[in-house]
């Protein structure tokens, strides 16, 4: 088996995550789908690292994880706050910016 298959898996996971972001309305699930996309990217980075034989890909994946952690912290805080104010976790309810 060629490690390229990991890349195919990564692409599929990324696409599924993206579709989930577009389809789901619950902000938390949307957020989880974003995490799925990030993980798919990480898988691609790790695979590239293996293919190229150096560790820079892993470093990038590492940074991605750290940033994802920070993002989740802030994002979930925002979701909580919105839920507290608007009593809804639906991304469609936060549509005050339209005309």
């Amino acid at each position: 088996m060629n490690p390229v298959n990991y890349l195919y898996l990564s692409a599929l996971l990324f696409t599924i995550g993206a579709a989930g972001v577009l389809v789901r309305r619950n902000a938390i699930i949307v957020f989880m789908c974003v995490e799925l996309m990030l993980n798919a990217c990480n898988l691609a980075f790790v695979t590239f690292s293996r293919i190229h034989g150096n560790l820079d890909g892993q470093i990038i994946a590492f940074f991605t994880m750290v940033v994802a952690a920070a993002e989740v912290v802030v994002g979930l805080a925002i979701i909580l706050m919105i839920f507290r104010v608007r009593h809804s976790a639906s991304v469609d309810d936060a549509n005050l910016m339209k005309l």
Binding site: A18, L22, V91, D92, A94, N95, L99
Partner: protein, 648 residues
């Protein structure tokens, strides 16, 4: 002497100012004030005339520069008067007839509450008309031209409480505007061609301009003359202008103002001499109007409108004569003067009849009035004989000369014009005889006609019978009959006076110049033909109206008669050709404006709005929709990247 010219114009102007500004305080003696100013003007005119006669022919012209009106470099407009023989003729006619009609109006307008205002307008008219004929440049002439237009408008609509009068005034004003535009364009053309407006510079210099320029100016001047002198195609206002008081019809719409066109063409003779095409247009207009007016005059039962048709026709003679060039100018003016006398006399006679007939104007409701109004009958009859060209009276001499000149034009044109003029003479004799017979002869046809022997002719206490009451014909007061008598004298003797020793010809010759055309037929033959035409016309009229009683209600008449009663469909033509076309045009423009102009603006707005509102749906506020766009965009970017790599 020059300074007197200012007085000539200033007196009636001052009179108008005083009478119109003075207010009701002047109501009681306003008319006498008006007469004083008019008479002053006439007296000054006489003095100037006497002075002029005393000089040599070449030194007679006076010039009085009052002030510079528009002193701009390259555009010098002066208020300056020029009194030469031509102007002098008009001055005497205007002030003389004007003064007589002032006197006449005292009696005629006796019962009108607004008599003071009427006299103010009359004075205003005199002043404007004098400015017109005395101006030494075209721009000042234009001032007078507009001034008489204003006075005419005010006087036609003097009885403005009558909708017909108000409408007639507006009609006259509007139709005159068309002509006035012609005059203003002519003046502009003159300025571009010659760089000046002054007669003394434009006219001697006319030869320097090209024939095309002269033709353009001439045609525009002709348009102006058509408007003011009620010539085809701008003739339609004159008949309706008879809504004005009869003295106004006599003074403005018979004797003076309507002849301004003839004055304009005669004055601009040098321009027309250099533009044969314009001259042809002038004679054509004159000849057409000559017949046109005569036919209209034949059909009208309204005495004033019949006379208005006659006026139109007679001015057609003058215009035709003026269009003949140097062989006709003198006779145009001569006919103008004699016409001024007898047509004013006829109108005053008509006014007198109406005065006695309770303002009835339908000739079919007259009849047999000669017994009741002997003075009116005699003066009207003399005017009648003059206008039909009865040998020895003034109309005979002047009209005969014009017909001669028409034949003298030479060639086919001369024959056609001469024949038309002869035909006109016959028709003139016909319709004037008709007027005469219907009014003064035959059965009494007015409502409840009393027998003059049994019923005493009692004047009502207020001297004016209530409207609608049975008329009781009576002779008019002295203030009305005396002017009529004086004018009758003029109608009888003026022609003779002018013709003997060619007095009038010699008088005007230095200004208008004159050349004898060589007529294909001798003067005697022409005179014979003229008299024959007159006799034929009179005979036919007598056969139709004198032998048998005239029905009080007009019979249906032939197609031509009915058309002529409608002024030969001139109003209908104008309505179809201009009013309807204009309204269709405006409707079309409005439609165009709505659909195309507004449509484009609104369409653009609607298009943008529509596109925007569709675009707005993309901005639905849902983060997920935006995410789809982003995702789609990303996909496109990836595709582009791959494509670029594949291509590279």
């Amino acid at each position: 002497m020059e300074n007197l010219i200012g007085v000539l114009v200033g007196a009636p102007l001052l009179g108008a100012l005083i009478l119109l500004v003075g207010g009701r305080a002047l109501d009681r003696l306003g008319h006498w004030l008006g007469i004083v100013f008019a008479t002053t003007s006439f007296a000054v005119g006489c003095v100037l005339f006497a002075d002029m006669v005393g000089k040599d022919a070449e030194e007679r012209a006076l010039h009085d520069h009052l002030f510079s009106w528009v002193p701009v470099e390259g555009f010098q407009a002066d208020v300056a008067f020029q009194l030469d023989q031509l102007s002098m003729t008009f001055v005497l006619l205007i002030t003389g007839v004007g003064t007589l009609i002032h006197f006449y109006s005292v009696g005629y307008m006796e019962h009108d509450e607004r008599r003071r205002r009427f006299f103010g307008y009359l004075n205003l008219f005199l002043a404007a008309m004098l400015v017109l004929v005395l101006a030494d440049n075209y721009l000042l002439l234009y001032v007078g031209w507009e001034g008489v237009g204003l006075a005419s408008y005010l006087l036609i609509g003097f009885w403005q409480h009558k909708p017909s009068a108000a409408t007639a005034a507006k009609k006259a004003f509007l139709v005159n505007r068309v002509g006035d535009v012609g005059l203003s364009i002519a003046i502009m053309l003159m300025f571009t061609t010659f760089g000046t407006f002054a007669f003394s510079e434009v006219l001697p210099d006319a030869g320097s301009a090209s024939e095309g320029q002269l033709t353009a100016i001439g045609l525009m001047l002709l348009l102006a003359a058509c408007g003011k002198s009620a010539q085809v195609p701008l003739q339609s206002w004159l008949g309706d202008a008879m809504e004005g008081p009869t003295p106004v019809s006599a003074l403005i719409h018979a004797a003076t103002m309507v002849t301004a066109g003839v004055y304009l063409i005669t004055r601009s003779g040098e321009i027309f001499n250099g533009a044969p095409a314009a001259q042809t247009a002038v004679v054509t207009v004159g000849a057409v109007t000559l017949v046109f007016g005569a036919i209209v005059g034949c059909a009208k039962d309204d005495i004033k409108k019949a006379l208005a048709g006659s006026t139109m026709s007679q001015i057609g003679y003058m215009i035709m004569a003026a269009g003949l060039g140097p062989i006709g100018y003198v006779f145009a003016i001569m006919h103008l003067v004699t016409h001024g006398f007898f047509k004013a006399g006829l109108f005053l006679g008509a006014g007198s009849v109406m005065h006695g007939m309770n303002d009835e104007v339908d000739m079919r409701k007259y009849g047999g009035l000669r017994k009741y109004m002997p003075i009116t009958f005699v003066t009207f009859g003399l005017g009648y004989l003059a206008i039909i060209g009865f040998p020895g009276l003034s109309g005979f001499f002047s009209k005969d000369k014009i017909i001669e000149a028409a034949f003298a034009k030479g060639g086919t044109e001369g024959w056609i014009l001469g024949s038309v003029a002869l035909l006109g003479a016959a028709i003139t004799a016909f319709y004037m005889t008709r007027v005469m017979l219907l009014t003064f002869f035959g059965e009494k046809r007015w409502a409840g006609a009393p027998d003059p022997q049994t019923t005493p002719d009692v004047e009502p206490a207020d001297g004016h019978p209530a409207v609608g009451a049975a008329p009781h014909p009576h002779e008019s007061p002295l203030s009305m009959t005396v002017p009529m008598i004086l004018l009758a004298f003029g109608s009888v003797f003026a022609g003779l006076l002018f013709t003997v020793n060619d007095t009038f010809l010699n008088w005007l010759e230095p200004v208008t110049h004159h050349e004898h055309g060589d007529s294909p037929i001798s003067a005697g033959v022409v005179t014979g033909c003229t008299v024959t035409a007159m006799v034929v016309g009179v005979t036919i009229a007598w056969l139709m109206y004198g032998r048998s009683p005239v029905p009080a209600v007009a019979p249906r008449g032939s197609l031509l008669t009915r058309a002529a009663r409608r002024d030969l469909l001139q109003d209908d033509f104008n309505h179809v050709a201009f009013v309807q076309t204009g309204s269709y045009l405006t409707r079309g423009l409005v439609y165009l404006d709505h659909k195309v102009v507004d449509g484009m603006a609104n369409g653009t707005a609607a298009f943008i709005g529509g596109v925007s509102s569709r675009m707005r749906r993309l901005q639905n506020g849902y983060a997920r929709s935006y995410a789809v766009s982003m995702f789609g965009g990303t996909a496109v970017l990836v595709a582009a990247t791959l494509l670029m790599r594949a291509v590279a």
